[in-house]
Amino acid sequence: VPADTGEEMQKILLAQAIEGMTLAHDIQTSEGRILCGKGTKLSETILSRLARLEIVSIIVEGMPVTEPGRKSLAEEMADIENRFSRVNDIAPLLYIKNRLLSRLLLAHQNPAAAPAPDANLTRATEPSPEDSQ
């Protein structure tokens, strides 16, 4: 994940990219070679070239793609809490939950509120008798 410069940017699938969007980060090959630099305005030619190179996702400036049903921070946090609501006593899963929450907060540019993930990973619980079949 690239360093946060405070400017708004969005990771999108190449299939979602359209002419006129601006790259917020370099596009690199797996070997680290730069294919297309930060600041490039995307054209049809560039897009089809990237498609031929089988680039999957890119990072562009702004938030140009709105996914239907995109949720607010509060809703996303509530989703995570709800999803993990039955496993809060299982250390490795609690660790994952805290990691997700802190990533989410960071992504919303509120690093101060991100809790430090801290959990003892060695402890997991067996599914309780009523949980196992």
């Binding site: 699938l13 299939a15 999957v56 995570i80 067996e126 079949q133």
Partner: protein, 292 residues
């Protein structure tokens, strides 16, 4: 749940009346595989005669959940790299998941995500044949598709029960059918003559302690399923992250560093799967009037 009801459901599932019949090609390939003189070129040629199947197989083989560094463009090479059991499972999943693509894309995404997670865990642990692990991850929920297709009425009852009682899917399945989709998936995998290394992880993905021979593989699928659900790639009304088996976790023996590296890699590679799902979605939008 009385036994006779359970048996009748089990019988209906095993008849696999409504699931697409496995392409005749599977039998032909199985016969060829048992002949030591068969070459992978010959097998590749047989598959290539079905262009659509061949294209689908290559797409699956080249997807993130096998993680080969280079693109594989020939089927005979894919057979050498992945082994016949994996190719056979892929032919089965290509036909079964055809249904899923058109009416349960979420389950297909969950399945591919699980395959990816299993592959990454398998490689981290230095497993010898991570491709089989990925494949077991890919088809671990095949029992769900079978229940949905073969027992549609009961499937709706199961969904309703999850909603009213707020219980996980397998519990609702136990109440309505007397078995869960893991067990059902195990029967199907056995019926299709898949190897124990794939059958057991499917059948035991809710409780890997039940595995007799494939404890480690079953534990990887159990954890892979939980990881991908943790990240929000679950299925339908059963939204909760399942409870992690202590035995499975100990067997994998992953530290925080391992877990971080695994999650980082899943989060990065999940984009390939999102791309896969989006392209299916677009394809479906462009061809209205599908049979499902």
């Amino acid at each position: 749940m009385n036994d006779s009801l359970r048996d009748s459901f089990k019988k209906r599932l095993r008849e696999v009346k409504n699931l697409p019949t496995l392409p005749g090609i599977v039998n032909k390939l199985t016969r060829m595989a048992s002949d030591p003189d068969t070459t992978s070129e010959q097998m590749g040629k047989v598959i290539s005669r079905d262009h659509i199947l061949a294209a689908k197989l290559l797409r699956l083989v080249n997807s993130a959940f096998y993680g080969f560094p280079q693109k594989i463009s020939s089927l005979s090479y894919a057979i050498i790299l992945l082994g016949f059991n994996v190719i056979k499972s892929l032919i089965i999943s290509a036909s079964i998941f055809e249904i899923m693509e058109s009416h349960d894309l979420e389950l297909w995404e969950h399945s591919m995500g699980c395959a990816l997670a299993c592959n990454i865990i398998g490689k981290r642990l230095g497993i010898k044949e991570p491709e089989e692990i990925s494949t077991a991850g890919l088809i671990h929920d095949i029992g769900k598709v079978a229940i949905k297709i073969e027992l549609p009425q009961q499937y709706h009852q199961i969904l309703a029960l999850i909603d009213t009682k707020q219980i996980p899917m397998w519990k609702a399945e136990m109440e309505i059918l007397g078995f869960d989709h893991a067990e059902a998936g195990g029967w199907l995998a056995k019926y299709w003559n898949l190897p124990a290394r794939i059958i057991e992880p499917i059948a035991c993905h809710h409780d890997p302690r039940k595995a007799k021979k494939e404890q480690l593989a079953s534990s990887i699928i159990h954890v892979g399923d939980i990881l991908i659900r943790s990240l929000g790639y679950g299925h339908a009304v059963d939204i909760w992250v399942p409870r992690l088996s202590q035995r499975a976790w100990q067997l994998l023996n992953l530290g925080r560093k391992d877990l971080d590296a695994i999650l980082d890699e899943i989060e990065e590679k999940i984009w390939d799967i999102k791309g896969f799902t989006l392209s299916i979605q677009k394809k479906l939008e462009n061809q209205p009037g599908l049979p499902y």
